[in-house]
């Protein structure tokens, strides 16, 4: 939670925070009288200003003391010296109370320990309101008041803030709640977003994540995706400006994908899963609203693609017989990561008959050769997403990731004479200078990548075709998720 701008100071001595609606707080009332006689004591009460009767408490009516001093449990005992907290304990534990207060013989009739109760300042019904009341001053975004007669959903369409679908209104409460999903500070700069080359803060990413429909636990993934997309290697500017139908495809890897409930199984590339659907969308809303990348402006796509609303899915790292794309890109196994790939929509490879790896490799190669144009080679990368049924054909033959890529690539070589302009009666193709090349591969080294997702029914694979690759265009960027 972001730091507040002004925190009310605690008085020197011993401070106890409690509430009437807590049995443990009642049971320590005799201890409070002992402390009041022996030391400088201040008691704050959260709910009933008349509790305890003695010593007379200070009513923390707006919970400012409790919120600012991060009281999570009552009673909490704090020792304060020169206005600075030295140490604290929560609940009742005689030894701890005696150690912190420096006074012995406390609560002789009480058991050694008794757990406390939840503080009102972390009550789920109150915490959002308190976070805004005391913490929203850290939010730097301009506040926009929606007129009474105005529909905020329509207002956001009218202002051009949406991708064509409704967005969740980014209220202070929702943005504060979203920011709880990361340890980063709201004002920290995440990246410089093209095309306007604007520095985007954690707060503005959180605003986009709210609008996209994310939960707070998705925010670290969104932040990392924004970082990866806004690198020189990934070239988000070019991805917008191109006339090709491509956008940022986010492949999520690692145990965190399970923790946030991502789908790497049936329909992983489709609709229906909140994390899959909103993480990619949040990135695109950052590009649109902060970076200024909008269709018809810097975005010059001829057709575009449905994936440009947001294209994000998880790898099934648990069941994959050939590891993950993240590990292929030198991320340690078990580390959460995102891979950003400049990709178009998916196309399906149907092969329901191959049971031998070479037959399946030939089928996949034949389909991959056609990607973008059968005669255009080396200029585009691809991600091949296999599900359990195709992957099993390779796994049962003992083929690992490297062997699969090699086995497919073996059937992706063509003589230059077949690929040059005019060959096969097609004007499109490579420059005629390549006519004498004995053999040209479809993909550059590393250009054919494997991911594993989908459910166990269907002898299909999906090709995600890329865009201009390498230094000319975009390189895949893989980053470990920063929480």
């Amino acid at each position: 939670m972001p730091a507040p701008t002004q925190s009310p100071a605690l008085p020197d001595g011993i401070v106890v925070v409690l509430k009437e609606e807590c049995a443990t707080c009642h049971s320590v009332s005799t201890v409070l009288r002992q402390l009041d006689e022996a030391t400088t004591l201040t008691v704050y009460t959260q709910d009933d200003p008349g509790f305890p009767e003695s010593p007379v408490p200070v009513h923390d009516a707006d919970l400012a003391i409790s919120w600012h001093h991060h009281i999570e449990t009552v009673p909490t005992v704090i020792r304060v010296v020169d206005g600075v907290e030295v140490e604290r304990t929560v609940g009742w534990h005689r030894n701890e109370w005696e150690r912190i207060t420096g006074i012995g013989g406390l609560g002789p009739d009480l058991p050694l320990m008794r757990p406390g109760c939840g503080s009102m300042s972390v009550d789920p019904d109150l915490v959002d309101e308190l976070n805004v009341r005391f913490g929203a001053s850290v939010l730097a975004s301009r506040r926009i008041d929606v007129a009474d007669a105005e529909d905020e959903m329509e207002m956001m369409f009218t202002r051009g803030w949406t991708d064509g679908l409704p967005v969740v209104p980014p209220t202070e409460v929702r943005v504060m709640r979203m920011l709880a999903g990361t340890t980063r500070r709201p004002f920290d700069v995440v990246a410089t977003v093209p095309p306007d080359l604007v520095e985007v803060t954690v707060e503005k990413v959180a605003v986009a994540a709210v609008m996209a429909g994310c939960l707070p636990e998705y925010l670290p993934w969104v932040l990392t995706a924004v970082e990866a997309a806004c690198t020189h290697e990934f070239n988000m500017h070019g991805l917008l400006a191109t006339t090709m139908p491509v956008g940022p495809v986010i492949v999520c890897s690692g145990p965190g994908t399970h923790a946030i409930g991502m789908n790497s199984g049936g329909n992983a590339l489709g609709q229906g899963n909140r994390a899959n659907s909103t993480i990619g969308r949040a990135l695109q809303l950052v590009v649109r609203n902060v970076g200024g990348g909008r269709p018809g402006e810097v975005d010059r796509a001829t057709h575009g693609s449905p994936g440009k609303i947001g294209f994000c899915f998880a790898e099934n790292d648990v069941d994959s017989p050939y590891g993950t794309l993240a590990v292929e890109h030198r991320i340690e196994p078990g580390v959460d990561a995102v891979t950003l790939f400049a990709g178009e929509g998916t196309r399906c490879v149907v092969d329901q008959l191959s049971r031998e790896p070479d037959s399946l490799a030939r089928s996949l190669a034949a389909s991959l050769q056609a990607m973008h144009h059968p005669k255009l080679v080396l200029g585009f990368d691809a991600i091949l997403v296999m599900g359990p049924e195709h992957a099993r054909v390779f796994a049962e033959a003992g083929w690992d990731r490297e062997r699969i890529v090699a086995g497919i690539s073996e059937h992706l070589n063509r003589p230059g004479s077949e690929l040059v302009r005019g060959a096969g009666g097609m004007s499109e193709g490579l420059p005629v200078a390549f006519a004498d090349a004995p053999s040209l591969p479809k993909f550059r080294p590393g250009g054919l990548m494997l991911a594993y997702a989908g459910n166990g029914t269907g002898l299909f694979s999906e090709i995600i075709g890329g865009w201009a690759n390498g230094d000319v265009g975009s390189k895949p960027v893989t980053r470990a998720v920063t929480y």
Binding site: L139, S141, R143, D145, P170, V173, M211, N289, G292, A468
Partner: protein, 94 residues
């Protein structure tokens, strides 16, 4: 619904600097015209022809090239053009 009535601006909130365009020159004679090739196929064909025409009207022509059409021109290249030329023409696409 009262809690949804104030929302946060999702945009960059930046203030766009407006710059006046320079007056169009009445003649290109004696001016230095930069021709920027963005590295798209056949952009050079277009620019070669433009160079012929510009030289024909008395302009000095300097040629520049972006490393790749997919990325904005590097800042050093933009600076170089701005200090060496009075006019610039960019061949956008094939």
């Amino acid at each position: 619904m009262s809690h949804t009535r104030t929302i946060l601006d999702p945009t960059s909130e930046r203030t766009v600097a407006e710059r006046m365009r320079l007056d169009r020159p009445s003649s290109l004679a004696g001016l230095t015209v930069g021709l920027l090739d963005i590295s798209k196929p056949r952009g050079d064909v277009f620019l070669d022809r433009l160079e012929e025409r510009l030289v024909g009207v008395g302009a000095n022509v300097k040629r520049y090239k972006k490393p790749t059409f997919t990325k904005p021109a590097p800042v050093d290249l933009r600076h170089e053009i701005s200090v060496e030329c009075q006019v610039v023409i960019e061949a956008l696409a094939d």
